[in-house]
Structures are given as C-alpha cells and as structure tokens.
C-alpha cells in the first residue's frame, strides 16, 4: 500500500499531465458518464413508458414525453459513446506526443558520445513500450474509474431524492462494488502480476535461447531436453495466467451477485415505496430495469483497477529517468587543441579501469590505442569525450577541462564509430548534419573527398537518393564513407575513431582506412583499433592493459624493439 502511495507521490509523468490537461480529461470522463447515464435512462424511461401505457390513459399525450425521451436516449447513448471515444483517444495521443518528447530529451541528456548502444537500443524500446502501456492506464483504468465515481454520486443523489434511507443502502452496496472490490482485487492481483511478468520475461529469454542456440541443441543431440525444459516455464506461465483469470471471473461473478442483491432489494423497496399511488407504481419497472445497464461500468472499473499493477513497473521506470537540466554556458574557444590526460584514475565500483594514466596528444598528432577487450579502451575514450568524470586527475583540451567544453563538444571532437547512424532522408541532408549551415557545394565537396563520387554518379537520383532506415541500401564500407563525409563537414580539430572498420572485409577495411587518414591529414586522431592493419598511418601506438599503457612508441621503433608487437604483426601481415 505504502509503495503505491509513494509511487504516486513521486510521480512526474502521469499526475502532472493530468493536472495540465484538465479540459480533455473532464470531457472524457463526463462523456463516458453520460454514455452510461443515457443507457440507464433508456431502460428507466422505457420501463416507465410501458407501465404507464398499460394503465391505458385516455390520451396518447399522457405518454408523449416518455416516448420522446425513449427515442432521445436511444440516440444519445451511441452518440455520447462515439464522442467519448474520439475525445479520449485524442487526449491520450496528445499525452503520447508530449511524453515522447520528454522521453527523448531525458535520454538525450544522458546519452554518451562513445558507445551509447545499450542505452538506445533495448532501453529505448522498453521505454517506448512503457508509454504505450500508460495509454492503457488512461483508457482502461482512469477514465472508467472517473466515470464510475460520478455515476456513484449521481445514483445516490437520485435515490436520495426519493428515500434517504434507501439511499444509504445503495451507497453502501456501491461502495463495496466500486471501492472495496477494486482495492482488494488490485492488491490480490499484484503479486500474481509480478510473477506473471517475471515468467513472461523468462519465457522470452528461453525462447531466445531455444531459437538462437538451436544449432547447439541439434548438434548436441539434446532436442528432447529442449522440449522438456521449455515446457516447464510455459506451463507455469499458463497456470499463473489461469489463476489470475480465474480470479477475475469469480470476482465478476461475485459482483454480479452483489448486483442481484441490489436488484432484489430495489424491487422490494420499489414495491413498497410506490405501491400506494396509481401513478407511482409505474416507477417500479423504471428503477429495476435501469440497474442492468449500470453493471457493465461496474465490471469495467474493477477490471481496469486490477490491471493497474501492470503499469507500476512502467511508471517506476519512467520516473527513474533523469530530468534534463538546461545548462547555459558561454561557448568557449580554444587555440591549440592539445589533449592532456594527467594522472587519471577511473573506477567502476571497486574495480579500477584506468589507473594513473598520463597521455598527451598534440594538435595534428595521430595515435592508435590497442588492447584486449576489457583493457579500458572504451573508458579512455569516454574520459576524453567528457562522458565520464575521472576519479582523480584531469582531462583537458587546450588547457580547458573537458567538462567545461561539454556543452558544445561537437565543435572540438568528432566521433566515427561502428554505429555512425544514417537517417532515412536524402544523402545531401544526411551529410549536411555534420554542419547544418553548410552550402550544397560544401556538402558535395565533402562527399567527393570521402571517395563517394563514383557511387553518387551511379545512382539515378544522385545526391537526392533516399538513404532508407539506418542507411540500409548501402554497403558497410559505403556507410562508413558517408559518415566520414559528415565528419569532414563537421570540421572539429579532433577526431575519435572507435574501431570504425570492424565488420568490414579486409579489402574494404584497407580502402576505408586509407581514405580516412588521407582526408583527415590535418586533424588530431585518436584511433582505437583491434588490428594492426593501417598501423603505419599513426605517429604513435599505445598498448593498453589493465588501465595503463604497457607499451608505447612509434610503429617503426616497435617493429624493431618489441617482440610482442612483432608477433602480432606477423599475424596481421600474413597477407
């Protein structure tokens, strides 16, 4: 209980939005209330109408008003419902627009320059799903709940006008149906929902294990194990789901029994209340028949509320996102972009990743950084790009700390990695992203420099060719060249190359590397590489191991002095 309350108190996604979009919320709820009201009124008036007609009044005019009302409510119900659905969907989609923007801003504020893959791929799709789920929170839980509450008040007042004692009875019964049962079923379902979600994700992992590891299952001859093993989780999940559905079915059954008690008690009450007058007896049918259309909305509220715990995780996750702060700093300029790392240490938890590292890269110098996976290469790049702050020591570019340059870092550092993304727009627009103010001629010049002219000439739409999502229509080598063209335009003095040629075949790798070093002649280059291919292009090679450099020199010297280097070179140079 406390957890839920805390969640709501700290919430900055749902509650504030409700407050800021009052009119849409108001109409959504009012219209869904009116829908139920019209349905109830139709039966109420119809019941009255035929009862009154059965008394055979001398004049049709005596039942004229109920006739008109019957038709009116008959038309009003579907119209209200139609309007309600449009208004509420519109409202919810507006919520989605705003939250998408907020989600984007929040994620963008924490995205790092170096390898922010995990952050974007999985997490983003997870968060996007969360937003979708919150839509349902509104449509299936909040709106019906709001309408139910208004209905509760309305019905109570309606009966209260006739008999206040009976009103108390109704209020009590409705409280049970609309408040007690939903709360109980919310908490009763909560653990089940949790278990169901956990099993669901387990099922997904296991299905992935089954499909991606299929070759191993087959080759190891363990097909039967796979089938048996998979069955267990699926059976568990089916069981959990069935228990929670069973719970829902029986809950609905007991609500129906409560409704039955209401119907019977109302019949008896109406029978005694209205018995004395010839006109009043017509209300017996009216009151009793009107109860039935209300039942649907009772069931809706209950179902919506017991589903609510499905949204808990989504709300928690969204609320854990950082709130982007708008920092305004005056853009700095630097004269000579010398990179200096002075006695830098970085720890992740207790583990030392970079330990007391010194590195100076002068303007225009080209260095290569090599090392096994886990040796700290990526961390080193992140430190240089200001994505992370060192535990001790300083990272400066042109005597300014990297952190103070962070706001407009793209002016100083360009990054070319394996995942440089090409957007689904024209070639011209894609390359222009390097410098929004560039003229068409400048963009075209950069494309030519990146060695793409022959490719452009071969395309029917030339520079206006659409890239398709993630640049899918071009090969890996071509995509990297487009990214290179973008960087040429970006014109930052420092370029970080983060294994830009992984995944390319050796021949293309050579060509792309040669092009990169040719056109980036005047820039400072920090190149993390996993092969020695192209190593002669750099002035200095550093070998990183356990957070510090174990070997560093010019490639020429390393060739003669280091046996380690020679061994590696022998592998790469076997070509």
């Amino acid at each position: 209980m406390n957890k839920v309350r805390q969640l709501l108190r700290r919430d900055s996604w749902v509650v504030p939005f409700l407050k800021s979009q009052k009119s849409g919320l108001f109409w959504s709820i009012v219209l869904s209330f009116l829908t139920i009201l019209a349905a109830g009124s139709l039966m109420f008036v119809s019941g009255y109408l035929i009862s009154r007609a059965a008394q055979r009044p001398e004049n049709v005019l005596m039942i004229y008003v109920p006739i008109v009302l019957t038709r009116g409510f008959g038309i009003a119900r579907p119209v209200f419902r139609y309007a309600q659905r449009l208004v509420s969907h519109n409202w919810v989609l507006r919520f989605v627009s705003k939250s998408r923007r907020r989600l984007y801003e929040s994620v963008a504020s924490t995205a790092s320059n170096i390898r922010s893959r995990l952050q974007t791929g999985e997490v983003l799709s997870l968060l996007a799903d969360d937003l979708d789920r919150l839509q349902n929170l509104y449509l299936r839980t909040l709106f019906p709940l709001g309408a139910g509450m208004i209905l509760y008040l309305f019905v109570s007042v309606g009966i209260g006008v006739v008999n206040w004692l009976f009103m108390l009875w109704w209020m009590m019964m409705l409280s049970v149906i609309m408040i007690v049962v939903p709360i109980v079923s919310f908490f009763a379902n909560r653990t089940r929902v949790k278990k169901q979600k956990q099993l669901q994700s387990q099922l997904y992992t296991e299905a992935t294990d089954a499909v991606l590891g299929l070759q191993d299952w087959v080759l190891s001859g363990r097909q039967q194990d796979l089938i048996a093993y998979q069955g267990q989780v699926m059976a568990d999940l089916a069981n959990t789901k069935r228990t929670s559905m069973k719970f829902g079915w029986w809950r609905d059954f007991w609500i129906q029994i409560l409704v039955l008690i209401l119907v019977v008690s109302t019949t008896i009450w109406a029978g005694t209340q209205f018995a004395e007058s010839r006109m009043a007896v017509n209300f017996i049918a009216a009151f009793v028949l009107a109860i039935f259309p209300l039942v649907d909305s009772f069931l809706g509220v209950n179902q919506g509320v017991s589903e609510a715990s499905f949204y808990e995780d989504s709300m928690t996750r969204l609320n854990e996102l950082p709130v982007p702060e708008a920092e305004v700093t005056t853009p700095k300029t630097i004269k000579t972009p010398t990179i200096v790392l002075n006695n830098v240490t970085f720890k992740y938890g207790d583990k030392v990743i970079i330990s007391q590292l010194d590195l100076v890269v002068k303007a225009g110098e080209k260095v290569a950084i090599l090392g096994r996976s886990g040796s700290g290469k990526t961390t080193l790049l992140k430190l240089i790009a200001g994505d992370i702050v060192p535990e001790s020591g300083h990272v400066t570019i042109g005597n300014e700390s990297v952190q103070s340059l962070k706001q407009n870092l793209s002016k100083f550092i360009a990054v070319l990695d394996q995942q440089s993304y090409l957007f689904d727009t024209t070639i011209l627009n894609n390359v222009r992203m390097g410098n929004i103010g560039a003229t068409d001629d400048q963009v075209k010049a950069a494309i030519t420099q990146a060695g793409l002219q022959p490719l452009i000439d071969s395309l029917p739409e030339k520079y206006h060719t659409k890239m398709q999502e993630a640049g899918a229509r071009f090969s890996g080598g071509e995509q990297q060249r487009f990214a290179l063209a973008r960087i040429l335009l970006q014109n930052a003095p420092i370029v970080i190359l983060d294994e830009p040629t992984v995944g390319l075949d050796p021949k293309t790798e050579h060509q792309v590397l040669r092009q990169i070093f040719k056109v980036l002649q005047n820039r400072t280059i920090i190149w993390v590489t996993h092969h020695l291919t192209g190593i002669d292009e750099v002035n200095h090679a550093y070998f990183l191991s356990e957070g510090h450099f174990i070997l560093s020199d010019t490639p020429e010297k390393l060739r003669t002095t280091s046996t380690h280097f020679q061994k590696l070179l022998a592998m790469d140079d076997f070509h």
Partner: protein, 572 residues
C-alpha cells in the same frame, strides 16, 4: 466466422458439444430470468404484496445465479482446452524447429521465430478461448431469445429478426470503409513511426554531431502528425461500432415505443410487453460482445496461420542413411561436383573436396567467395543442389545425417551463449562431465581469469540479461565445450577470430592450436596466419576452388592463387 482449421484439432468436437450444451442452458436461464423479473414487477405494479410475488423473485434470483455461474464455467472449461491445444502446438513447433535446425531461423528471422514461440502462441490461446465462446454465444443465445419473443408476440419478433441483418450490413459496410481508409493512411502511419524510431536509433550520432537538443521539437512534431493521422482514421473506424451501437440501442427504443402503443390500444398486457422489453437488450448483447473483440480475433487468426504454416513445413528426409560410429584416421569424406545457388545466384560452382583421417583443411578466400557456404554444406546445414557426397564409400543425399552431426563440433563467428550458468554452458555438449574434467577444460580454454572474476564463479549466470561476456570469452567458452566432448573427432570453424582484437586473437590461437591435433579440421577464414596450423588449403574465388594443395608449397610459388589472395587481402 469460424475457422475451418479449428475442426482439425484433437478432441474439438466433444469440447464444442459441451460448450453448446452450456450455452443452451445459459440461453434458457436468460429467458427465465427475464420472465420471472417481469412477473415480479407486474405483480407489484398491480399493487400486490411482496409475499405473493416472492416465489417469482426467488426464481429470478436462481436463474440469474445459474446464468452467471455458467459464464464462469464456460470460461474455465475453454481455458483448460486452450491450454492443452496450445501446449500441443508448442511441442510440435519445437520439434519442427529442432528437426529443421538453424535453416528455420535463417528463413524466418530470429525475431519472428522467437515471437511465434512466445507472443504468437499466446494470441492463439486467446483466440481459442475468447472466440469460441463468443461465436457460440452469438449462434445460440439470440435465437433462443428471439424464439421466445415470437412465441409471445410475433410482430415484435419479426421486427427484431429483420433489424439483425441491417445492423450487420451497416457494421460491415462501415467496417470496410474504415479498413480502406486505414489502408490509405497505412503508408503515412508507417512513415511516421519509422521517423520516430529512426530518430531514437540515431540518437548517439545526433549527440556526437551536437544536434541532440534541436531534435526534440522534431520528435514532438512527428508525434503530433501521428496523432492527427490516427484521429482521422479513428473517426472512420469508430463509425462501424457507432452504427452497431446506434441500431441496437435505437431498436430497443423503438420496441419500447411500439409496446407502449400496443398497450395503449389494449392489444397487449403488461407482462408480455415487459418481458419483451427486458429480453430485447439480451438479444443484441452477444453481437456486441463479438464485435468488441473482433480485432483481437484477427490477431489470433494471423498467429494461428503463422503457427500452422511453421508446423506444416516439410521435414528434411533421409537423415539416417549414413552408418558411422566414429570418425577414424582412415575415414574418408568426398564431395564431388557440388553446386549450390541462393536466390538463383550460383554461390558454389562444381566444388570437389576430399578429406581423409585427421587432415587440417583451410578454406580461404575473400568475403563472398563461398567459404562459409561450403562449410555449411559440410555441416549439413544447407543442402547442395547437385553433386555427389560420400562418406566411407556410402553414398549420401546430403550431410544432414544424424550420425554425421554427432561426429563434429562447430564453432561459428559468434557462438551463442545460453542464459544459464557458466558451468551449464560449458557442459552443454557433455552433460555427464565430472568436476575435474570441467576444471581442466576451463584451464585449457583460458577461462580461469573469467571464473575468478565472476561473483559466483562457475555458477554465475551469463548470457542474455545475465552477465554479458565479450566476443573472446564466448569463443573460449565454446572452446571449453569442445574440450569436454572428446567423442567428436571433426571440428568445423567459421571465421572464429575475425572480429576479435588482435591480442585476444593471439591468445586464443595459442589455446586452440593444441586442440586441432588428431581431429579432422575444416577452417574457413580470411585471417591467413592460421595457415601455419593447416596441412591443406582450398583457395576459393567467386564460388569456385581455384587452387588447392599444401600451404607451404603454395606460399612458396610467387604466382600461386594463394599469394594473389594474400596480396589482395593486404589491400595492395
């Protein structure tokens, strides 16, 4: 309305009979409930006391309770059936997956294959559970109710009967209009959604280019466009539900007014009129319930199609032609004139390979030369278009032979690591390996450092959503698997080190070299330094073997194809 494929399910007829029976009783209780309710109200209306009409109220209550109980029972009964049917499909699906092997995944796409197994089967279950109940409600209850109304007053019955097809026709016509509108907007929808995904996926690049902040307005604009398009479609789409709603509600109102006039003119008594009024909504209710879940039904239908299509894929035949217990030093594999094409493009042309005993054969060539394809044919993961295959003089249709696949171990470029403990991952091929054997394998595969680093050592969870292992570590785990299973005398390698950093590659090579001894090895790679471990090499170029022989001799020949390849791979 009802899927013919359903009738092929085991035990469906009996299940449906029970469902029909329960629904029939439910229909009767609905009539009973309405009749007794009307009687009670009419009695009270006449001014009679509660005691007189108490029996009616009790009967009403009983009918009501039975009706609600039947709702629960029907749901539980069908859920039980759906569980069984889906479990059945699951086993069949997994059997099919394992029978077809990795080709399934290649054809279907990983995402698809996983979805079919997870969400796909879920949808099928919903379909069985929801759809069957709703269809049978719709085909039984309205007609029982209508029959009773006819019995009371045929004019009202006729009206309700005639309005039914009108409602359905409008529902369908407007539904079709909505569909065509939705189809017309679909391109737009897709475009907008893609742009959003595009922006999210490109976020790291935007950040690097310093554009991340300016892009947030773009995101909002895309979402707003999306909203407007969606609303345009919804306006039409919802009209079909509106029509259904409108006609059913109005029909009830019309019935009420007609009944009023009949009563006024003395053609009718209150009791039958009230009964009809109470029954009229019940008559339309199943139709409304059915249309509400119409879309869920469509999803289920599509999912069922996917599942059935997968299950009905033909199996690979003749997998037990080969008789082979163990590959030995005098065993022999011959591939003769093998051709293979993909999408009508020839990938392998007239390949002839002979392998004997514990030879170490390198398959080298540029990317796209066909070396991986050839390895896949040797592993039996692909079937050649023509050519002869022989093992120890036994002619074979293909190499997807049970006895053959037991002989070899396959190391791909990116081996799959199961979401399980490190220990279980290593023991995957040798379930009965002892603790000592496992420790030895770990030492020899160079995994000791990883084991020390993991919080629970060998029992730490790794793989997806556990602790991620690096590419080099994954290769070492595969190596350990290989070391534990010493029954297999053939090793297939597909570019095992191409994506590793050079130092890791160097370390791994030291660990791997000793394992190659006394095994038949096929090693596909463009990292030519591996040639020093091989005693035979096939040079592939555009799907053909352009040269074969001992690496030492070919390297010595300046004009050899192998040296030409070296030159090209060196980017010179």
């Amino acid at each position: 309305m009802i899927d013919k494929r359903l009738f092929k399910l085991k035990g469906i007829i009996g299940t449906l009979m029970v469902l029909v029976f329960m629904t029939g009783i439910q229909g009767l209780t609905i009539i009973a409930q309405s009749v007794f309710m009307s009687r009670a109200i009419v009695d009270l209306w006449r001014g009679q006391s509660i005691e007189i009409t108490l029996s009616n109220i009790v009967w009403f209550g009983l009918a009501f309770i039975v009706r609600q109980l039947l709702v629960v029972f029907k749901n539980q009964y069908m859920a039980g059936y759906a569980d069984k049917a889906v479990e059945n499909y699951r086993v069949q699906l997994l059997e099919k997956y394992t029978a077809l092997g990795s080709t399934v995944v290649a054809k279907q796409g990983t995402g698809n294959a996983v979805t079919t197994l997870g969400a796909g089967l879920d949808n099928v279950k919903n379909y069985f559970q929801l759809l069957l109940i709703k269809v049978f409600d719709l085909s039984i209850i309205p007609w029982l109710v209508l029959a009773y109304i006819f019995y009371i007053k045929w004019e009202q019955g006729l009206f309700l009967l005639l309005i039914f097809p009108v409602v359905i026709i409008f529902f369908i016509i407007l539904g079709l209009a909505a569909q065509s509108k939705a189809d017309a907007e679909f391109a737009n929808f897709k475009n907008l959604n893609n742009r959003f995904v595009d922006a999210l996926r490109g976020l790291p690049t935007l950040k690097q280019l310093g554009l991340a902040e300016t892009y947030s307005d773009e995101i909002y604009q895309i979402s707003e466009d999306y909203r407007k398009t969606t609303m345009r479609t919804l306006k039409i789409a919802m009209t079909s539900t509106f029509a259904l709603d409108f006609f059913t509600t109005l029909s009830i109102a019309v019935v009420a007014v007609f009944l009023g006039f009949d009563l006024l003119n003395g053609h009718m008594m209150l009791l039958p009129a009230l009964t009809i009024l109470i029954l009229a909504p019940e008559y339309f209710l199943p139709l409304r319930n059915f249309s509400d879940d119409y879309h869920a039904t469509l999803n289920g239908k599509n999912a069922l199609t996917d599942v059935l299509a997968m299950i009905e894929e033909p199996n690979v035949s003749n997998q037990a032609v080969l008789q082979l217990t163990t590959w030995q030093s005098d065993s022999q594999l011959i591939l003769n004139n093998i051709n293979f094409s993909y999408d009508q493009q020839p990938v392998l042309k007239n390949i002839t390979v002979q392998a004997k005993g514990y030879q170490k054969i390198a398959l080298v060539g540029e990317s796209g030369s066909g070396k991986s394809t050839l390895l896949n044919i040797i592993g039996g993961f692909l079937t050649a278009d023509d050519g002869q295959i022989m093992i120890n003089h036994q002619k074979l249709p293909h190499l997807a032979q049970a006895d053959w696949q037991k002989q070899f171990f396959y190391m791909p470029q990116q081996p799959y690591i199961f979401h399980n403990t490190l220990r279980e991952n290593i023991k995957f091929y040798a379930q009965n390996a002892s603790e000592n054997e496992v420790m030895d394998a770990i030492k020899n595969a160079g995994l000791s450092a990883l084991v020390d680093e993991l919080p629970d050592g060998l029992d730490s969870m790794i793989g997806e959503s556990g602790r991620q292992v690096s590419g080099g570590q994954a290769q070492r785990i595969t190596l350990a698997r290989m070391l534990l299973d010493n029954q297999r005398k053939i090793l297939l390698f597909d570019e095992p080190t191409a994506h590793l950093d050079i130092e890791t590659e160097y370390d791994l090579k030291q660990a791997m070299a000793p394992i190659l001894a006394s095994h038949l090895v096929f090693f596909a790679t463009h990292r030519l330094h591996w040639l020093d471990q091989m005693d035979y090499v096939l040079v592939l170029r555009q799907g053909e073997v352009v040269e074969q022989g001992e690496p030492r001799l070919l390297l010595a020949d300046v004009n050899s194809q192998l040296n030409r390849l070296r030159y090209e791979l060196g980017g010179k």
